[in-house]
Amino acid sequence: MTSEEPALSLECVTVELGGKRILDNINAKVMAGEVFGIIGPNGSGKTTLLKCVSRTISPISGRISIRGKPIDAYSDRDFSIEVSAMLPHWPSGFSIDAYEIVLMGCRNRTKGIWWEGGEELSVVDGVLRQLNATNLIHRDFDTLSSGEQRKILIAKSLAQRTGIVLLDEPVAYLDLKHKLEVMEVMRDLASSGHTVVMSLHELELASKYCDHLLALDSGNVKFFGTPREVVTVDLLREVYGVQAYVRWDEACNFATIIPRSSKDRRGG
């Protein structure tokens, strides 16, 4: 494997759902060891894009490859070792302890059909500690708050121990401290060689923690580049339809976004 080969590449990916074009001719390359952010307003196609990469839905045309190999060429088992995805879920209707959900993540690598092995259990312990979620393990998953459920689902994805980790809004519903914790964990993952692809709405966090950002609007790529290139007044105006100031903190290398309301026109 050459270092030039992208961990994940999308070529001309087009998706239609129910006759409506959701993604239109998307091209992207994600290198190993980076945190790749997908941003864009609601309904812009972020989740759909992640679902394509995780093989949950298939595009009508285009090609998605992992390290040069098309994703359709992987068996279910092999794919589950390459890619994990935290996607929207629905309530199960049964009471399941949170740790049982994290343990499910280990299923992709186990040979045993009945009990989990000691190695799996230590992986689960490690992941829970990393995410600072050990206090949740005995709780019924359906009774956790949305933010806590997010954390458990992230833990499940990490327990899969895949090279590529896909996350659909991993920090939604989390409070500020937990948002930062999760983003730090993603950075750690990336620096240990994993590839993290996530959708998110928090542009300030995206600017600080992502290596590259892809901005979608109505299924088209509107902006792509480093956070410095993407998180701009133009992005906010053209993609989000918001008038705002963007300030870059040179020391810490992150953007601050201050919305402009119609009232403070004179100050602008």
């Binding site: 199960s92 499910m104 299923r107």
Partner: protein, 339 residues
């Protein structure tokens, strides 16, 4: 951390399994004693060890009671396990193994066999089995056309089941001479259970039963749906279909002989879930044992001399016993049933 939790859970499972096995064993022994004639424990032991002198007693116990109790045990096992599987597959805690219209299909098949001239009594199970499986195929076909997903599946089962019930009612009301037999079959009975019935049902159902138990870990993962399971490397659609077919064949094999016995498949998994949580590796085996216990007790009451005039259908007895128990648990630990 997680390891201690899991060890505790496994320990609890072993304790429950031991208690239920012991209960089953003693229940089996007591049930052989019970009947229109009561036998003493010594007589039963004597028969089992071949020291009983009376050949009449030996033939009553070995030829009639033991196969009957064992058939109830096996059917309870099948219904308990299948109920747990079906509730997880449809992600619906209110599902039972008959939700595919399997019960109405089997009943319709049996009813047809009752009213058609020239069909011998021993062929009724074949018709019932075929009816149940045909109904399942129809439901699977329709739900496939409607788009997969548990809800479509349940709705298709409801629709097809209703049509089958309608035909059943037409047959019952038009063929008055056969209607008693059909109704009796409909609510289930072990009064005709024989060794050959037991062997046939066990021969058909056991492989599927083992398959379902071996897949309990993967079944856990299906609780969050097919997409979720697929991401963990499980061929979820194939597993879903395989489990559904397995449970339907296993249940049909028993139901074909003893009739439609309700509530066991609904209640037994719930009782065990309240005690050991939702992990199917614990729930399914225990739910099978609980189903067997409930069904043996129901059958004991039905054939005990407490009601000497007629034998009640065992299906009504399972409801009379199982549902109050269920309601008690529901009220006591209702928080676990939040949808």
């Amino acid at each position: 951390m997680v390891e201690t939790t899991i060890r505790q859970k496994r320990y609890r499972f072993v304790v429950y399994a031991a208690v239920l096995s012991l209960a089953l064993l003693s229940l089996f022994f007591i049930s052989v004693m019970i009947g229109s004639v009561w036998f003493s424990p010594e007589t039963v032991v004597g028969v089992f060890f071949g020291t009983e002198g009376s050949s009449t007693i030996t033939s009553i116990i070995m030829g009639y009671r033991v196969p009957r109790v064992l058939f109830a045990l096996f059917t309870g096992l099948v219904l308990g396990i299948s109920g747990g599987v079906m509730q997880t597959l449809t992600r619906n805690p209110l599902a039972d193994p008959y939700i595919t219209g399997l019960a109405s299909g089997a009943a319709l098949g049996a009813a047809v066999a009752f009213v058609m001239p020239g069909i011998p009594l021993y062929a009724i199970p074949i018709f019932a089995f075929a009816g149940g499986i045909l109904m399942l195929m129809l439901v699977m076909f329709i739900s496939r056309k409607a788009g997969s997903g548990p809800l479509n599946f349940i709705l298709a089962g409801l629709a097809v089941g209703t049509v089958a019930s309608a035909f059943l009612m037409i047959i019952i009301t038009s063929a008055s001479n056969a209607s008693h037999g059909i109704l009796y079959w409909l609510y289930g009975s072990f009064s005709t259970s024989s060794w050959s019935d037991l062997w046939t049902a066990a021969f058909i159902a056991t492989p599927f039963l083992i398959f379902m138990l071996l897949k309990s870990r993967d079944l856990n993962i299906l609780i969050f749906g097919e997409d979720h399971a697929k991401q963990l490397g499980i061929n979820s659609h194939r597993l879903w279909v395989a489990l559904l077919l397995s449970l339907s064949i296993a249940v049909s094999a028993c139901v074909a002989f003893c009739g439609v016995i309700g509530f066991i498949g609904l209640v037994a998994p719930h009782i065990m879930r309240l005690l050991v949580g939702s992990d199917n590796r614990f729930v399914l085996p225990l739910s099978g044992m609980m189903g067997a216990i409930l069904l043996i007790v129901s059958d004991d009451i039905v054939r005990s001399p407490l009601n000497p005039l007629f034998e009640m259908p065992v299906g009504s007895m399972t409801a009379l016993i199982g549902v109050p128990f269920f309601i008690y648990l529901l009220i006591k630990r209702g928080k676990n049933f939040d949808l």
